[in-house]
């Protein structure tokens, strides 16, 4: 790759240059931002070539930049500041002392106070003190970009090797498969919902959703687990997340002498034997009617919509403890509420990419630290006698990416070096 990049006139060289160019990065970032803006309204865009194309190109761009720049950054971060290199730094200020005052001790103390331990070397008649920080700064951006690639790798792994789906369990029900994109996927063990509970705050808003689960692997003793929102449960290869819940009502439907029992999840439309359809609109565990004192408790209640082929829908109420209400139902059918059960919906998933994603997240931290918090800073002080025998010191230094802190340090050093002696 290095030979290619060196000959920028060949077609391949130009292609490589275009791939690693910052203009491409900027254009891609803005395109991705634009497409994402469309995606806030139409999320399906993110499965579309309009997004995946630029994203793939962005990945290539990132990789190319990494290949091009990382070796140089590594070389630069291995270069220690040497006395020779230190002498090349730009001069900032000069000091002088009379021949009788040997300033070595004072200079050393001043530098140590401001910079910490400094290195020392002899250069001919002169002494060179030098100090550096942020040698690894050039690696920072590459660590950040590497971290982004690791995250994207994790996302790809999740997409191709991971699986996610839903498991709907009635209280007391056992399952050994879950559904993912319309297909049934075996769990490899049995999952049983012992109970589902909702707890409420005094103001009536939900406080906690809780599924008590029992997992049984063939030939092993069962294990129980509690799954709550924000507290997923992992068993075998899969992790279970509390996603949703609802009620299933057991209704007896009578039509003259005929009777059928139907299990009806709230919100789902069902067909009866006679061809009519109905849907449970709402279920209340205890219907309270306001009245004298504390109100009247009517017990479990449901509201249904019912319609026959071509007819208008009709609304009716069903009360478990007051079956006589069914006499008021219109039409040939009478509905009786037998009991109601919770069902719990669990998100089921296995994603081998998550650990890559998290590793990328962790890698971003040192990357940011190096890139933004460790600007390169170099100082040197050259001390020797001039022709008249007086002591002379030249303070050199540079910090191209941290001018303010450099300036502030320069002022402090100046003060420390001048203190208590003629300058």
């Amino acid at each position: 790759m290095t030979q290619v990049s060196s000959s920028s006139s060949s077609p391949l060289g130009r292609f490589w240059k275009a791939l690693t160019s910052l203009r491409l990065t900027l254009v891609l970032l803005l395109i991705l931002a634009g497409v994402s803006l469309v995606g806030t309204v139409r999320p399906q865009v993110f499965d579309n070539l309009w997004f995946l194309g630029p994203l793939a190109l962005f990945t290539v761009n990132l990789t190319a930049c990494l290949i091009r720049g990382l070796p140089q950054a590594l070389r630069r971060s291995r270069l220690h500041l040497t006395p020779d290199a230190a002498l090349e730094l730009p001069e900032r200020v000069r000091f002088s002392w009379p021949p009788s005052h040997d300033p070595h001790l004072r200079v050393e103390n001043a530098l140590r106070r401001e910079l910490g331990p400094v290195q020392k070397a002899a250069a001919g008649e002169q002494t060179v003190y030098f100090w550096e920080r942020g040698r690894f700064r050039p690696l920072g951006p590459y660590v950040v970009h590497l971290a982004l690639l690791v995250i994207l790798t994790g996302a790809l792994l999740g997409r191709f090797l991971g699986i996610e789906g839903r498991l709907r369990l009635l209280e007391g029900e056992t399952a050994n498969v879950f559904t993912s994109e319309g297909k049934e996927i075996p769990l490899g063990f049995q999952a049983h919902l012992d109970s589902f509970q909702v707890f409420y705050y005094p103001d009536g808003t939900p406080r906690e959703f809780r599924s008590d689960l029992t997992f049984t692997e063939p030939g092993k003793s069962p294990e129980t687990a509690i799954c709550r929102v924000n507290e997923p449960v992992t068993f075998g290869n899969f992790t279970f997340y509390q996603a949703s819940y609802g009620h299933v009502l057991r209704l007896e439907v009578r039509e003259g002498e005929k009777s059928q029992v139907v299990e009806a999840p709230v919100g789902q439309t069902l067909k009866l034997d006679g061809g009519a359809r109905f849907r449970v609109l709402e279920y209340q565990p205890d219907l309270v009617m306001p009245g004298d004192g504390h109100g009247k408790h009517l017990g479990p209640a449901a509201r249904l919509a019912f319609w026959e082929e071509g007819g208008h829908p009709r609304l009716l109420a069903v009360l478990k403890d007051h079956p006589e209400f069914a006499d008021q139902h219109p039409g040939p059918y009478r509905f009786y509420l037998k009991n109601a059960k919770f069902f719990s919906v669990l998100q089921v998933k296995r994603d081998p990419g998550v650990w890559w994603v998290y590793a990328g997240f962790l890698l971003l931290l040192p990357g940011f630290y190096l890139a933004f918090l460790r600007p390169a800073e170099r100082w040197a002080l050259v001390l020797g006698r001039n022709r008249q025998g007086a002591w002379e010191a030249r303070l050199l230094g540079a910090a191209p990416r941290a001018r303010e802190s450099f300036q502030a340090r320069l002022e402090r050093l100046q003060k420390l070096l001048k203190k208590g002696g003629p300058a």
């Binding site: 994402s36 999320p43 971003l364």
Partner: protein, 288 residues
């Protein structure tokens, strides 16, 4: 006894007065006015902090009354969960706090009065919006928000937003001064550096906010990224500031284009923070 909202009303006035005094101090180069402005800003921030802590304590008390914590660990857990950062109103109060705090830090470092003008003005505007446009009641925490990630996710996001707010203020000043070069105020090179500095801080914290949000989403819903409108909008914001940093650090852009990018970026921040919550449904829509 005065209520928390009255205290916050006073804080809002203090920030506003501080902003005007900073402006006057810049215009007449008066040290006395400047000290007064600084005092008001510090005093306002102290009262703001107290109001925040008081709300935290009240919120904890309410939750502990419903579910008394069993041991020290349970107490600590409840303290973390009940941080007053769980709805739109509380997030506005904290956003304003971050802005005031960050502008004080920048003021300490750069000693430029206009930072106080920008920070004080933005902080008081946000407090005013909170008192007028958001429901200030303390509500019990919904199950999805009961997580230790709430604290760190919200804090990192809003420190980021506040830094972007300062970058935006500096960018607006840069752009107005670039059109009218004469007159008082900070020099253009300083403003340019400030935009960059604030954008770096914002970018680092926004990234941390997105990461912590992703980890939280993974534990709550089993998906670290689900293209929820809020997530998407924060990614757009991230792209814009990433473009700004690359343009500046690699391409060496300075001045006006960087200032425009900072303005566009803050537009994206506002869209992420407020626009998405009101316009689009999604996992974050509990904000209203």
């Amino acid at each position: 006894m005065i209520s928390l909202s009255e205290i916050l009303g006073g804080v809002m006035l203090a920030y506003l007065a501080a902003a005007f005094l900073f402006l006057a101090a810049v215009l007449w180069s008066s040290h006395r006015l400047r000290s007064l402005a600084l005092g008001l800003l510090v005093g306002g921030l102290a009262a703001h902090t107290l109001a925040f802590l008081a709300r935290w304590i009240i919120s904890y008390g309410q939750a502990a009354a419903v579910t008394p914590p069993a041991d020290f660990g349970g107490k600590l857990q409840l303290v973390i969960h009940q941080t007053p950062l769980s709805n739109f109103y509380e997030s506005l109060i904290f956003f304003s706090w971050c802005l005031a705090c960050l502008s004080l830090i920048f003021l300490h470092r750069y000693a430029e009065g206009f930072l106080g003008v920008v920070g004080g003005l933005l902080a008081s505007l946000i407090l005013a919006y909170a008192s007028l446009g958001a429901d200030s009641r303390i509500r019990p925490l919904m199950p999805a928000l009961k997580s230790n990630w709430l604290l760190v996710h919200v804090i990192t996001c809003f420190v980021g937003y506040a830094a972007f707010g300062l970058a935006f203020g500096a960018a607006i000043l840069y752009l107005t001064r670039a059109f009218r070069p004469q007159g008082q105020g900070p020099g253009l090179p300083l403003l340019d550096r400030l935009i960059y500095r604030a954008a770096v801080i914002g970018f680092v914290f926004l990234t941390l906010g997105i990461l912590t949000g992703a980890v939280w989403a993974e534990t709550a819903w089993g998906r670290y990224w689900s293209w929820d409108p809020k997530e998407t909008a924060s990614l757009i914001t991230w792209f814009i500031y990433a473009a700004l940093l690359h343009a500046r650090l690699v391409q060496g852009w300075q001045g006006r284009p960087i200032a425009w990018l900072a303005v566009a970026g803050f537009g994206a921040v506002l869209f992420t923070y407020i626009g998405v919550s009101f316009l689009l449904p999604g996992l974050h829509s509990y904000l209203n």
